[in-house]
């Protein structure tokens, strides 16, 4: 039995590729869902010895995992090792009552819904297929099926979005009382269709949209959510019923833990090696069909790199980072000057010296981290 407590499973299929997306996705291909699930289970068989039993978390991401043929999805879920947290990503328009029940009955205990926005004009820009009602309906169906841990994804900084639009989206999302919210600023990544179409507009809006991040944080924290990671919020205290509703799977990443990833384009980091599977569906399927591991790129994460990543990831969280754990990655001089400027808090307790970003520091987390890196 191994030591890895987190497993990521990639399901690349989508009904449509949204313009801003740069994930590894495959449109349609209903006929290949079965062989892909075969391949996933085969890869898991080959790689599985590193996994702990039971696992802490399993995360099915995509793509649109819930676009996968239901029978095949069920077969996959049945073949996965047991975990304390089992999350599936879903697009609202794919959540039928049947699907909700299927997920629930196969041990899924957390669903992350890609809502993105409640405004038809913004959904259109994002090329999302769900209508605002789909989001509300899917939440209701999941609740009905018994889910008590739902997360909504929201995107802000969409071309044409006004501060009032953002307020409206946040209100709508809060009205659904999700346990967890992920709010991302839209990244116009170079080379995507979206950037080609909207890049200039985004640049014009850049200054006006600078305040959106603050608006998101202010609104959600005022509504009782904990801003526990740069872009992630969860209910806390009484509203959480005493539960810790942070995404445990993602916490694993942010704490610099090892994780296994299976599927085309999936990434694993285990014992100082980061491996990225080939992102061609055909090559992925062919390798596993012949009983071989899929082709992959290997990156060595030595101790120094690991510490640098730990610093960069750990500072995204609201929990303090133990200074001793990041070793030489930290520039001590920068730390004191940033502390002086009110961007970092430094304290010492039983665990030794700890640091975390102040509220102001978290808004400037990129720049602050770049300074803190030695």
């Amino acid at each position: 039995m191994g030591h890895v407590r987190h497993l990521y499973v990639h399901l690349p299929f989508c009904a449509h590729r949204c313009g801003y997306c740069d994930f590894v996705t495959v449109v349609g291909r209903g006929e290949q869902h079965g062989s892909y699930v075969d391949a996933l289970l085969a890869e898991l068989e080959l790689e599985g010895d590193v996994l702990a039993d039971p696992l802490e978390t399993v995360f099915l991401g995509g793509g649109t995992p819930t676009f996968t043929d239901a029978t095949e999805l069920a077969r996959l879920l049945e073949g996965l090792p047991a975990a304390e947290e089992l999350t599936v990503e879903a697009n609202p328009e794919t959540v039928t009552p049947d699907l909700a029940r299927l997920l629930r009955s196969h041990g899924v205990n957390r669903v992350s819904l890609g809502a993105q926005s409640f405004q038809p004009h913004l959904l259109a820009v994002l090329e999302r297929r769900a209508a605002p009602d789909d989001v509300r309906r899917s939440v209701a169906r999941l609740r009905e099926a018994g889910f008590d841990n739902l997360s909504l994804d929201l995107v802000y900084g969409v071309p044409g979005q006004s501060p009032a639009d953002l307020d409206h989206d946040l209100d709508e999302a809060l009205a659904l009382e999700p346990e967890h919210l992920s709010c991302y600023e839209l990244e116009a990544k170079p080379g995507t269709r979206f950037t080609h179409a909207h890049g200039d507009e985004l640049e014009r809006q850049a200054e006006a949209m600078e305040g959106y991040f603050e608006q998101v944080v202010d609104t959600l924290t005022a509504a009782g959510y904990r801003w526990y990671e740069t872009a992630n919020f969860c209910l806390m205290g009484a509203k959480a019923g005493g539960r810790d509703l942070r995404a445990r799977h993602n916490l694993g990443y942010w704490r610099g833990r090892d994780y296994l990833g299976v599927g085309m384009g999936a990434v694993a980091t285990v014992s100082g090696e980061r491996r990225r599977n080939v992102s061609s569906l055909a090559r992925y399927l062919a390798a596993l069909a012949s009983g071989a591991k899929p082709p992959s790129e290997l990156e060595i994460i030595d101790r120094e790199t690991h510490e640098r990543e730990k610093l960069m990831l750990g500072l995204r969280l609201d929990e303090p980072l133990v200074v001793a754990e990041v070793g030489d990655a930290l520039d001590r001089k920068a730390l004191s000057s940033l502390a002086e400027r009110g961007l970092v808090d430094v304290s010492t307790n039983g665990r030794g010296e700890e640091m975390s970003l102040t509220r102001h520091g978290r808004f400037l987390g990129g720049g602050v981290t770049a300074e803190l890196l030695s």
């Binding site: 991040f213 603050e214 384009g265 960069m312 400027r341 890196l373």
Partner: protein
Amino acid sequence: MEQDRIRNFAIIAHIDHGKSTLADRILELTGALTQREMREQVLDTMELERERGITIKAQAVRVRWRGHELNLIDTPGHVDFTYEVSRSLQACEGALLVVDAAQGIEAQTLANAYLAIDGLLEIVPAVNKIDLPQADPDGSSRELGELLGESPDRVLRISAKTGDGVPEVLDAIVERIPAPTGDADAPARALIFDSSYDQYRGVVAFVRVVDGRFETREPLRAMAQGTAFEAEELGVLSPAREPVDSLGAGEVGYVITGLKDVSSLRVGDTLTSRRRPADQALPGYQDVKPMVFAGIFPTDSDDYPELRDALERLKLNDGSLSYEPETSQALGFGFRCGFLGLLHMEIVRERLEREFDLDLLITAPNVAYRAMTRTGEIVEVHNPAEMPRELDEVEEPYVKASVIVPKDYVGAVMELANERRGSFDHLEYLSEERVMLSYELPLGEIVFDFYDQLKSRTRGYASFDYELAGFRPGDLARVDILVGGEQVDALSLIIHRDFAYDRGRQLVERLRKEIPRQMFDVPVQAAIGSRVIARETIKARRKDVLAKCYGGDISRKRKLLEKQKKGKKRMKQVGGVEVPQEAFLAVLNLDSDRKK
């Protein structure tokens, strides 16, 4: 050779008016070099000189013509080297004044011609390029004749390119230019009119013997500087070095000194023998001081040792270049360099970049100032950041400037001169079409893009020359630029109070655009003393964080951050503000932008 068989002459001509070609033809015609041996334009030895069509270092060549020994002494061809030109001319009894038949006389040629006339030299005028279809030999001859008070018939008409009229030039040199008249029996005296550095043999002095005779191995002394050495070798250039046993009165040649420092032997100084020293040095020696200063910094601070070595090596051949280490908070370690003028600065910069392959950052040039502090102390200031704040009075160098333009552009030139605090002296018609305007101008106004403005406002027709005319008090202010409340030393400037506000605004606006937003508000100010005259604020960033970061993104995000980190390391820190080098460059280039 008997003195009456010797003729020493220089050629005075504007850039491109054919001096070098004429020199080539003379060497060819006198058999000093066969055509096959001929390298184009033998006298210009440095690559840069050839490319820019200018001569920086004077040399001397001996040729023979009809039983006479002719020494052609080459003169540097630019405004910054007036003193060197005057010394070269001092070594001659006559000068060939060469003017392009299509373009007529230019300001600089005129200035040098006046130097020759003042030095009592016999002028042999010639119009060149008569083979060109657009040549106007009659008009040019008339202009030259009027200028010299001679009949246009005395003006030779030649084509250095085809060789047409060149023998007549040599004849005229022999006939019209007087022979030297030094006292062959007097204690030896020779004028140093140039020097260069030979890496094996040390400093080589080029001299004109005035009185007496110098022998090889003779112990010598430079009278003004007191430098003592032995003449390791005497010789003449024909044009290759040709050792001789002695050099007598009237002769021109070189002395190999073995000295290791060019500045120990200055142009204009007098050599004499220590065995039988002369009482009096030849007149006219000046200790030429640099008037224009700029900070030179390596773009990459690791190149500092290379820059230091390069300057050391340049200085070997260029006694008028001065430099001392300078540390700028903003630009790091570099040197504050002193130049004779702007062209000199340009030449040094180009040689550093080209011959030594250095990437340089050069501050805006400034002139030398004389500041009188409240305590009555007088300090010479070469760096605006060192100008004392408590001042009683500041003096700045002025020049007498002359501009020659077609008469249609007189208005444009006057306007420019007025904008630059010039005071009009006089105007003179050189011909019906061409006018010479004389102004007194602060040198500081000239180093700031004056020449480019002049060229652009006169469509390139103006020619320009100046000579220093001493220091005068000016209503000058030191403007400091502050970023984040801290002074950026490299951007301080000294400027007339009337222009301080505009210039301060420009700098501050430009910096606001160039400095990236930081994690806090950054004020950018221009100030005179404690009074802020312009202010801009670089607003703080409100957000600087990557939205998401999960398993698959970690490597990419880490690399992004490392890149951001590297970017920060390249920036210079001023008042806790990260300023990219490009920002300094942009501000320092403000001048060149104004030209557009």
